[in-house]
Symmetry: C2
Subunit: 144 residues, 2 copies
DNA sequence: TTCATATAGTACTATATTAGTACTATATGA
DNA sequence: TCATATAGTACTAATATAGTACTATATGAA
């Protein structure tokens, strides 16, 4: 598998929707309707995204949420980080001290390398490029 | 997070241990002792790896497991696939028909692209390179 | 000032996944 | 024949995820 959670997935759908008109303020209800997800779920995610500084919120009538930064400056890596914590393919690849095998483990460094490559791939995809794929040579412009 | 399961992680530790002497036959007990994990857990993983064709097993006295292929030919992508199913960062990035938003989803193709990049990174790391990191320019030899 | 609107925060429940363990069956070789 | 070692299955406990409900607070317009 190696999967992000459903909620994080939804989060990227919400943000991509907002990136269509980056300056506009969207209410939770409007977003829920646009992307056909339950209001409660959309609402929960918007609160999290707002608390993490990815959105700017405004209460009351005409209130809602808008992107705190241009879509070019918000990466998938950041969204994942905000909604489910730092990218860490293995327990040991992000922070040390969690695995008892650490000291004797022969493969930890290499897992950290893999983690780095994955992180960089996620870092390179912005909300903007989610909506307007660059279509460059080599998907995501990464040459392998 | 974006994490593989603990069991899959253990699986790579087991296989890396076996890759040190690829021709040798290891009993489950010997491996459990070498990598300091419970025999029951190691045993469970060895059965799964064997059933998937990554190992060759032999019962009885002097029995045990050995790698079915040279360490160069076993990739992390394959190990993950065997122990926790195909790499699929989002529900929709591997197989279609699971998400109701699919038809209208603006970002599915791009998630599939991200998935592809991650898969290729995992494909490029073999048991051999886990133990003997290539140390090439750009981690894993992938230029970004 | 009042009130409908909209977000803020929190807590809770249900579900699904993961991890760990136990038990029985079967094959091997000395 | 028997100790050794894998094969298969099923079960339990722990953890993580998803979804929902409820109360509090801020805003702007009638």
């Amino acid at each position: 598998m190696l999967r992000i959670s459903k909620l994080t997935d939804y989060g990227t759908v919400i943000l991509a929707q907002m990136a269509r008109e980056p300056a506009r303020t969207y209410s939770a209800a409007a977003l829920a309707q646009a992307i056909e997800l339950p209001l409660s779920t959309v609402s929960k995610l918007l609160k999290l995204l707002n608390r993490s500084g990815l959105l700017i919120s405004c209460r009351g009538k005409q209130g809602g949420y808008r992107l705190a930064k241009p879509p070019q400056q918000i990466s998938l890596a950041r969204v994942i980080d905000v909604l489910e914590g730092p990218v860490a393919v293995t327990e040991c690849s992000q922070r040390s001290g969690l695995c008892q095998l650490e000291a004797r483990c022969a493969i930890r460094r290499q897992w950290q390398g893999v983690n780095g490559v994955i992180y960089q791939a996620l870092e390179r995809v912005s909300l903007d490029s989610l909506l307007n794929p660059p279509e460059a040579s080599g998907m995501l412009g990464i040459k392998i």
